[in-house]
């Protein structure tokens, strides 16, 4: 009898816990989905409809793709997009080359001070960009790269390399030591082990790190704001603001359409590679 009662109360507790979880998740989803929803809705409105402020702002009465067409046919916007893609690709490549080599040596080639160095690499990630951008401005200035979009390819890895190295150390560390020992006996050198064993085995971790590097590079605002000032060198994040807000004139429809277009690549990448991203991060997290 008492067993039945406790079983019933356990089921009730579970049900309440489930409803509680759903409620919390509902609030969370609402908070995070409302802004993108509003962005998309507004991007589909004409300037006239936006400024008229008639009816519910959550509905589109006369949907139009004019804002998107206008942006896509704009040479300036295409320059922002192209610059962002180039820099992001360069940053992802530079980050991955440095992170994979650093992580492999720190995880596997145990040398004096390797653990301290691994911790040090992570600590550099904790220094906020707002503290770094002044000294980095001096360095970039000394290199003659102020207002040169490629300066970002030097700067962004300072943000992405520490975290990506940390993810990769965790992932490489989770690969059984016997695997490299078997390869050593099979006749492989360390570079062969890295290229032919570690990189294929650690691909989920590498993809997770690549996504992180991509996100850092694609969404960075502070550095391009500080270092770039001409349209031909500009990237999306700052370009949208500087080009579509003139004085006190906000081209809301185009701004929102630009945001949708700028957000599309990261959203697509996350959507397709989410599984890799999660497994890559958790492998690092469970490293003892």
């Amino acid at each position: 009898m008492s067993a039945t009662l406790s079983h019933a109360s356990l089921a009730a507790q579970r049900r309440w816990a489930m409803w509680g979880s759903y409620a919390a998740l509902g609030v969370f989803v609402l908070m995070f989905l409302v802004p993108p929803f509003y962005t998309i809705i507004t991007s589909l409105k004409s300037s006239a409809e936006i400024s008229a402020q008639i009816g519910s702002p959550w509905l589109v009465h006369h949907p139009t793709l004019d804002n998107f067409v206008s942006l896509i046919t704009s040479a300036t916007f295409r320059t922002f997009f192209l610059n962002t893609i180039m820099i992001t690709a360069a940053v992802v490549v530079v980050t991955m080359v440095i992170s994979i080599l650093a992580a492999f040596s720190l995880a596997r080639l145990k040398f004096r001070g390797s653990e301290t160095l691994a911790t040090g690499v992570f600590l550099t990630y904790l220094i906020p960009a707002s503290l770094l951008f002044i000294p980095l401005f001096q360095i970039i200035g000394a290199l003659g790269l102020i207002n040169n979009v490629w300066s970002l390819a030097l700067i962004y890895p300072t943000l992405s390399v520490p975290f990506c190295t940390w993810i990769m150390i965790g992932y490489f560390g989770s690969i059984p030591k016997e695997l490299d020992e078997a390869a050593l006996i099979d006749g492989a050198g360390y570079l062969t082990i890295l290229v032919r064993i570690f990189i294929p085995v650690a691909m989920p971790g590498i993809i997770a790190a690549m996504i992180f590097a991509f996100t850092v590079s694609w969404g960075q605002f502070l550095y391009p704001m500080a270092y770039l000032y001409t349209t031909n060198q500009m990237v999306l994040t700052v370009g949208i603001i500087s080009d579509l807000i003139r004085g006190d004139v906000f081209q809301w429809g185009k701004i929102m359409a630009a945001c949708v277009l700028a957000a599309a690549p990261p959203v697509l990448i996350y959507a397709f590679l989410m599984d890799y991203y999660i497994s890559g991060l958790t492998a690092g997290a469970t490293k003892g």
């Binding site: 016997e178 020992e181 078997a182 390869a183 050593l184 006996i185 492989a188 050198g189």
Partner: protein, 370 residues
Amino acid sequence: MANVSLRRVEKFYDGGVVAVRGIDLEIEDEEFVVLVGPSGCGKSTTLRMVAGLEDISRGEISIGNEVVNDVPPRDRDIAMVFQNYALYPHMSVFDNMAFGLKLRKFSRDEIKRRVDKAAKMLDIVQLLDRKPKALSGGQRQRVAMGRAIVRDPKVFLFDEPLSNLDAKLRVQMRTEIKAVHQAVRTTTIYVTHDQVEAMTLADRVVVMHDGRIEQVGPPQELYHRPLTRFVAGFIGSPGMNFIPARLANGGDTLNLVVSDNLSLPVPPSRTAAYAAFKDRQVLLGLRPEHLTEARANTRPGMAPLAAIVDVTEPMGMETLVHFHLGGTKLCARCDPTITSGPGDLMQMSADLNHMHLIEPESGRVIAASG
């Protein structure tokens, strides 16, 4: 194929931890040698030093008469099978087996020929296209062996290769490893903590304890003529019984006085050998098969003793009977038809013709002859 020599080999780590304390071992060409001992005895470290996966702190290791202390693993011409298989998870079985050959620039035809031959020998031809995750534990271990065989190395090294398998598969794979060695006759060093594996596989068993070699010899020799208490207790399952006793004069003969009311006569053939230990405390070592239920037809050297049964373990072909003698727990191997149960008084018989006498202080087994 080659002989392997270890001369005064030591391994110590930073912080003063000593794993191997100066071992000497000569392994003949084509020999199957098993290093056996409890966890932390230094057996795996020794194997890894032979493989080149651990530096040698002191001493010398040679393979085929060439000192390999400073030779990297890939140039030692060895192949190793690991406890967790260590198969490359992103490669097919074929590629796993071919990896070492590809790195050594073998021709495609030669690689295919060798992999096919090894796959046939190990009965894994149908698995060549599969990835390791699609294989069972036994199949993975076969692939790991195949990867070693295709290399046709001077020495095979096995590091507890059967530890991850279930009991039934372990017995099956044990037989297969022995069959492979009989077919390819490559010098083999095999590490295990399982003394049954050691006994069944080895030409010679090396028992290690606390970084040292306790005894080296063929399995039967280690079983019947252990040199130390450690070897006597480690080899054999269930382990040897050790009974504290005092060696006393009993007229023409010697007696082992176990307690006030139990005295066991030393067989006449042993009295001369044990005479020097008269009036001293010793340990009587008796294997469970030499401690059985009392039988009608006794022979010289059989001594009766009575015991209250603690636990019985019917094994089918025999029944293990556990009981106390004084404060010592003992195990007897009895006929499966015995009817005694816990709490019953049982008449036992100790076959002292197979006894071992051990010095308690040194742990050395006193030589039974001469």
